[in-house]
């Protein structure tokens, strides 16, 4: 097909570069610089989709962000994306797009039956009809609605594209590069301010691209081009196109989405597809312009009915005619500008003006060009189904209530102008309470709430001269306050045509006996009658009316529908518009892709990855890793075809019989120094700390103020006023904050300093009956005998020239030590331990074996200390000092915490000694009891006991103290398992703790 609606010699497109694209499988051509919309219109395509509710044919309504209809499914470089506005998507070679919201095809749409049944689909229809019976929802209603409606399909493939986040600071952020944005940016930049100028579209200049004005001795566009190229040269200015400032948040934080690559067939290597900018601006100038609003009339959603400004933009920017027999329907002078543009391009338009006798320079020009004008005329209804074929028009009385005889005129498009609505979204999001401006019949920003000012058309200023004057002044003043510089910019002479006042007319009455649908919201199919129903049914608040009728919802957020909706409500309610108020403007102003919001925080980038200094050794030795918080820890070291179960059993067994070594670098470590360090520990831990000698370690438990166990670990007294605290891997950061809280806020009199030393030390746990023999070889100059280094003892040693800390502590329940060296020596230490340990049959062990060892010893860990248990529950009540107070002690006397049958940790063994018990299973008395079966407790941790070669679990069980020896059932509905078990002591292996002291 040829581009039969393409004009010659006009527009900003590059005619030297022809691009091919497909829409609904059919091939077309356009030019570089086209939007998908302009390229389709150039090819005479006006049927783009089907409407949301009634599946009525949909064409184009606007030319930019306000577009409610032309939403397509886009295919680009093997990916697909829904909800793309054809008016915003720039054309690239090979672009493919399809219609949404039509099944089976855009030309024959089954859902359009809704259109003929629409008497059944009034406001609130979905709420009223699809509610009952409840059981119908999932099976019948929802699948039907999903098939018949919806806006596109999301890809379920992993998105290969890259999205970035960027944080930026500036003196002035200016949103919009129309006349007000350019003027204020220029003035501010000249004063030396750091300026970011953001433009949503690919081209800078806003309305200057389409209006017939002169600034100085240049056309509006030439002036804009000049300013932009000058700004781009300035080091203190960042100029961004394809960048939408979509949200204004607290404390002058704004978020902007930059579409870096969406206009290209394929994202370049190492480039992001989109970039999200978090901009903290000292001052914000909102120069977001205004959007033309429609006039409401019968069948005003027919393809070919569109905004007059859009028709002009298609001509002047893209060189495209939206129709060859246009009807212009206007209540102000803007429609004339579009008509004049048509005329200049050899097309004869007909203007219907609602006003009876308007006079202005623009109207004079139209008359001079012999353009046909009918005054006091309105479009009553558009005729045509898939495209406008004609219009029913009529004269309207001065009071706008009575229609004259209806005439039919042929036309192929109806360009509507109902005057202009300032784009106040950002101002409103900033917290600015907007006010109603009677003169323009629209809301404008009120008093500034944050450091924001609104300029030009966004502030209801519709003449270029005033806009430029005002914007130069504000740009200069605001920047001067920041930079203390003032470079006077001479103000250019502006030539523009004067307009006459607009007619406050927004809705054509229905002629007698006619029942045309008159749409307010084009994306959601909300008609005048829907609002009338909502009000009749008692909805009053505009927020309720919005939600009941869906007026102003969906992807265009009512950019063209809100004000007319308010006019209607105010008319029916007999209130003035400001009394009705408008719904809250919330970010985002326009849809933002999820990818941009997520940024690079996906997959393994969603959190930092911390690795121990021995990580590469683990990798080389077949470690299989597991995420432990942000750390990567070896879970087991695979030998041959072993699986997790076999490997961890082997590793644990080797600890019990020979010796094993485990990387414990990830344990939290806090260095505590100061004369009051012991006092701090004494208040933080539940047991006594004042008398711990130098060179000794002690196990401690700390509580939250509510009595729940927060963390446990050993703390060692390195010297008189110096302690080394260890925490669990998971709680390391919280414990540090906890200590800082008490030291800084509660007990500032304590002379203590705390600092994290987790990353300063590499740690290796050496555990097993042969661990002392190994230690002797590692530290030949130290006395590591049972007398020289008793259980819970500490010493410093020399590890082949490297300074090491040796702690005799045990998590495995075996004779065990923990050796720490400075992190950079971690790998050296590890390799020495493995090398020297070979003669003792040493094996490295991972977290799975570590768990096995601690579980069968009955040592509680994170799965028991889960933020729900108190010391008693974990059999740690022996560590509660009676003599002193400590954090959380007062809470322990609460009734539930002291109940006779309080839960307690126990051991669980299956009666058959074979069946593994799933973690998280419930313990019940009677496996056949009717549901809900009373739950007595839960399995917190499970292992295969290497000591007894049978499954063993820990459980938190109600009245655990008196349950030893009881037979219960473990039930796991998830795994569909019922296992008869016996309750035993949690100290399954070495209950007297002899090994650790041996």
């Amino acid at each position: 097909m040829t581009q039969s609606f393409r004009l010659k010699d006009i527009g900003l497109i590059n005619r030297n570069k022809k691009l091919s694209f497909k829409f609904n499988g059919k091939k077309y051509y356009g030019y570089e610089g086209d939007s998908l919309a302009s390229a389709l219109i150039a090819n005479g395509v006006h049927l783009i989709g089907r409407s949301f509710k009634y599946h009525r044919p949909r064409g184009f309504f606007g030319a930019g962000v306000d577009e409610p209809y032309a939403i397509v499914q886009l295919y680009r470089n093997g990916e697909t994306e829904p909800n793309i506005k054809a008016t915003e998507q720039e054309l690239f070679d090979g672009l493919e797009a399809t219609s949404v919201n039509c099944w089976p095809s855009v030309n024959f749409d089954i859902g359009a039956i809704n259109n003929f049944l629409r008497i059944f689909l009034p406001a609130g229809f979905y709420y009223k009809t699809f509610m009952w019976p409840k059981s119908f929802w999932f099976k019948i209603y929802e699948p039907f609605i999903r098939k018949a409606a919806g806006l596109g399909t999301v890809s379920i493939k992993h998105d290969k594209e890259r999205y970035e986040h960027k944080y930026e600071y500036c003196d002035l952020l200016i949103a919009g590069s129309g006349p007000s944005g350019l003027a204020s940016a220029y003035a501010a930049a000249k004063n030396g301010a750091r300026v970011i100028l953001a433009e949503d579209k690919s081209r800078f200049g806003g309305t200057l691209l389409t209006s017939e004005v002169n600034i100085g001795n240049k056309s509006g566009k030439e002036w804009a081009d000049g300013i932009i190229s000058e700004l781009k040269e300035m080091p203190n200015v960042t100029v961004k196109n394809r960048s939408q400032v979509f949200g204004y948040y607290d404390h002058n934080m704004l978020v902007m989405s930059e579409r870096v690559s969406d206009h290209l067939p394929k994202t370049k290597d190492f480039h992001p597809k989109q970039r999200l900018w978090y901009i903290r601006a000292k001052e914000v100038l909102i120069s977001s312009g205004s959007i033309e609003r429609p006039i409401v009339f019968g069948n005003n959603d027919t393809p070919g009915v569109m905004l007059s400004s859009a028709a002009k933009e298609y001509m002047k920017v893209y060189g495209v005619l939206v129709g060859k027999n246009p009807l212009i329907f206007t209540n102000n002078d803007s429609g004339y500008e579009t008509a004049i543009e048509f005329k200049k391009n050899g097309i004869d338009p007909l203007i219907l003006d609602t006003r009876s006798n308007p006079k202005s320079e623009i109207i004079n020009e139209a008359q001079d060009l012999d353009i046909k004008i009918k005054y006091s005329y309105v479009v009553v209804a558009a005729q045509g189904y898939k495209k406008v074929k004609s219009a029913d028009i009529a004269k309207i009385s001065d009071d706008k209530e009575q229609l004259g005889n209806i005439e039919n005129v042929k036309c192929d498009c109806i360009c509507v102008s109902g005057y202009w609505t300032p784009t106040i979204h950002l101002a409103s999001q900033s917290g600015n309470k907007t006010k109603f401006n009677e003169e323009i019949d629209a809301f404008v920003p009120g008093k500034s709430k944050q450091n924001e000012k609104t300029l030009g058309a966004a502030n209801g200023i519709y003449t270029l001269e005033e806009t430029l004057k005002d914007s130069f002044k504000i740009g200069s003043e605001v920047s001067k306050k920041i930079t203390n510089n003032e470079n006077k910019v001479s103000f250019p002479n502006v030539v523009e045509k004067k307009s006459s006042i607009h007619d406050k007319f927004w809705c054509v009455p229905l002629p007698k006996g006619k029942n045309y649908k008159r749409f307010l919201d084009f994306q959601n199919d909300v008609a005048v009658s829907d609002i009338e129903i909502a009000l009749r049914e008692g909805y009053r608040s505009i927020e309720h009316v919005k939600r009941y009728t869906t007026l102003g919802m969906a992807t265009d957020q009512g950019k063209t529908s809100n004000l007319n909706g308010l006019q209607l409500v105010s008319k029916i309610e007999n209130k003035v518009v400001p009394a009705v108020g408008h719904t809250t403007f919330r970010p985002p102003y326009t849809p933002v892709s999820i990818g941009a919001i997520v940024g690079r925080e996906v997959g393994k980038h969603s959190k930092p990855t911390r690795k121990s200094p021995m990580h590469s050794w683990h990798e080389k030795n077949n470690a299989v890793f597991v995420d432990a918080g942000v750390w990567l820890r070896p879970r087991y070291y695979k030998r041959g075809n072993e699986d997790l179960f076999e490997a961890s059993k082997r590793e644990a067994k080797n600890v019990r019989t020979n010796v094993g070594v485990c990387d414990v670098t990830t344990l939290g470590k806090i260095d505590i120094k100061g004369p009051d360090a012991a006092e701090l520990l004494n208040r933080v831990y539940t047991n006594a700390w004042l008398k711990l000698p130098v060179g000794k370690a002690r196990y401690g438990v700390m509580l939250r103020e509510d009595g729940i166990v927060m963390d446990d670990g050993t703390t060692t007294r390195i010297s008189e006023n110096h302690y080394h605290m260890t925490t669990t891997t998971a709680q390391a950061a919280n414990v540090l904050s906890h200590l800082e809280y008490y030291l800084q806020l509660v007990w500032p009199e304590l002379n203590v300093n705390v600092v994290s030393s987790t990353e300063q030390w590499a740690g290796a746990a050496i555990a097993g009956p042969k661990s002392r023999n190994l230690l002797q070889k590692l530290f030949p100059n130290s006395d590591v005998s049972n007398e020289g280094l008793p259980f819970m003892g500490y010493m410093e040693g020399d590890l082949f020239g490297v300074k090491a800390r040796i702690f005799r502590i045990s998590f495995s329940g075996e004779l065990a030590y923990e050796v720490n060296v400075e992190s950079n020596n971690g790998n050296f230490m590890w390799e020495k331990i493995i090398e020297v340990g070979e003669q003792f049959e040493i094996q490295p062990y991972g977290t799975e074996a570590l768990s096995t060892l601690r579980i069968e010893m009955g040592h509680v860990a994170g799965s028991e200390l889960d933020g729900r248990t108190i010391p008693y529950d974990n059999s740690l009540e022996g560590l509660l000092s009676k003599k002193k107070d400590f954090i959380g002690k007062r809470s322990l006397i609460r009734e539930a915490f002291t109940a006779e049958d309080r839960q307690k940790v126990v051991g669980v063994v299956p009666l058959d000694k074979k069946t593994s018990i799933p973690e998280g299973s419930h313990l019940v008395k009677d496996s056949k009891a009717p549901s809900p079966n009373p739950k007595l407790g839960y399995i917190s941790a499970s292992c295969w006991s290497v000591e007894y070669d049978n499954p063993f679990s820990l459980a938190i069980l109600k009245d655990g103290k008196n349950m030893i020896g009881e037979k219960l059932f473990v039930m796991s509905p998830l795994k569909n398992k019922i296992i008869p078990v016996e309750i035993v002591s949690s100290h399954y292996v070495d209950p007297k703790g002899e090994r650790v002291r041996s």
């Binding site: 404390h251 934080m253 103020e705 809280y741 800084q744």
Partner: protein, 89 residues
Amino acid sequence: MLHIKCPHCGMRSQNEFSYGGDASVKRPELGKDISDQDWNNFVYNRKSLRGKHWELWQHLAGCRQWIKVERDTGSHEIFKTLKAEEEIS
């Protein structure tokens, strides 16, 4: 995202801080008898009011100091920030 003035470091973004609750709560002295009601008030009961509120924040990814911030919980306006040792006026 809030912009909080750390009394030690200056203006910083909210994502460097963590929230610490009502700054007017005083921990009862250690070792002193206290009624159940008073203890419950300390541990659990908070006003959660709308309006001006003194609250604790820790400059976690900065100087690690706990600070006091007077903030309007409705508008997010921040009026004043204090160091940990400074008394709320």
